[in-house]
Symmetry: C2
Subunit: 213 residues, 2 copies
């Protein structure tokens, strides 16, 4: 009956995300988004509501994606490879930041920094995301402990919080301009300092330590 939409909603959201990502919420004009997406203002407002709603949509999708990436890397696998999965995940996050030569950073961090204080929706979504990431990390740490790759005497909750902090910290220091090589080594170091069970010593955090790809 009605006239169908001539645009692909998914693609429009992607373009809108690019805008918000590079220029922030306050720094982005609806005209920018209209131009970037090729849509007229009428379509934009008709389909997504106002600027705030559009941002919330984009931000929410991004948070979902962040958690999905972590799920994809961390869940579902034998305990024997849990530490490898953790290592890969942390290194992936570091590599993302290190290779981000334009210092775009992460929309989660950027949106949270700009809006969480005054926008409960953004604050809530970012908190949820942290909690979800924390749970994923804790599960994997538990698995690695069961297999004896991480000291069982350590509290998995605490180690998970540490790794989450390191992962988010990598984003922050990378955005702040710390050089990529240093960013990459942080991932190595963080994994190297995880407590090892007695009698299963790895080499310490020395100068020449190889990357654990």
């Amino acid at each position: 009956m009605p006239r169908p939409r001539a645009f692909d909603e998914h693609q429009v959201l992607e373009r809108a995300r690019e805008q918000f990502w590079t220029t922030g919420y306050a720094g982005t004009r609806m005209d920018d988004i209209a131009r970037a997406t090729g849509l007229g203002k009428g379509s934009l407002y008709g389909a997504f509501g106002d600027k705030g709603k559009l941002f919330h949509r984009v931000f929410g999708d991004w948070c979902t994606a962040v958690v999905e990436v972590a799920e994809g890397r961390l869940t579902g696998g034998p305990d024997a490879e849990a530490l490898d999965r953790l290592s890969e995940y942390v290194h992936l996050m570091a590599e993302n930041t290190a290779s981000d030569t334009e210092h775009r950073g992460c929309l989660l961090a950027k949106g949270t920094a700009e809006l969480a204080e005054h926008d409960p929706a953004v604050a809530g979504r970012s908190a949820e995301t942290m909690t979800a990431l924390l749970a994923l990390l804790r599960t994997e740490i538990g698995a690695a402990q069961r297999h004896g790759d991480i000291d069982s005497a350590a509290d998995p909750e605490r180690l998970a919080a540490l790794l989450l902090t390191v992962v988010r910290g990598i984003e922050a220091v990378g955005k702040a301009g710390l050089d990529p090589e240093t960013v990459r080594t942080v991932a190595d170091t963080a994994l190297a300092v995880l407590p090892v069970p007695e009698g299963k010593k790895r080499p310490a955090t020395g100068r020449g330590q190889a990357h654990e790809k």
Copy 2:
């Protein structure tokens, strides 16, 4: 000869900082600052140039203060207390974040997130700040190693980068809404996992570990 200024420049910068801090760069209007400081636009522009220059001034002062806090806590003391100084510094940063119930976060992180990508001055200043913090941390780690509180086999540069990442990560996860108690424990955990020399074992990262105030 000329008429002297009727306002205290330092105080005006403080008020301006409050504004930029809570509403960000793009989200702050010059009228807000005029109202917050009690100055008219003429005085404001006459004394500080435009909005960008004013922000750069505020941002630069903040970065200086961040480094000064670290210097105050970390430098000047016997090697025997270097680890204590590191511990105190990391715990102070965690406490700052944990007690920041309004989630204002750190202006360094906020300004960097919003502007570093497009404003070379902000990018440069934040990178300088990271480098300065890194150097302070490395020096203290070296001191702790000389005194035998941290394994000398570890690379102080790497451990410093890890601690810097943790400190900045704490700010990020706190801003993102991770609960204060978890934020506080991260500081404990990060310090607990630092490599200890052979034969000087501390208790591991267990569940009941006491805070090292």
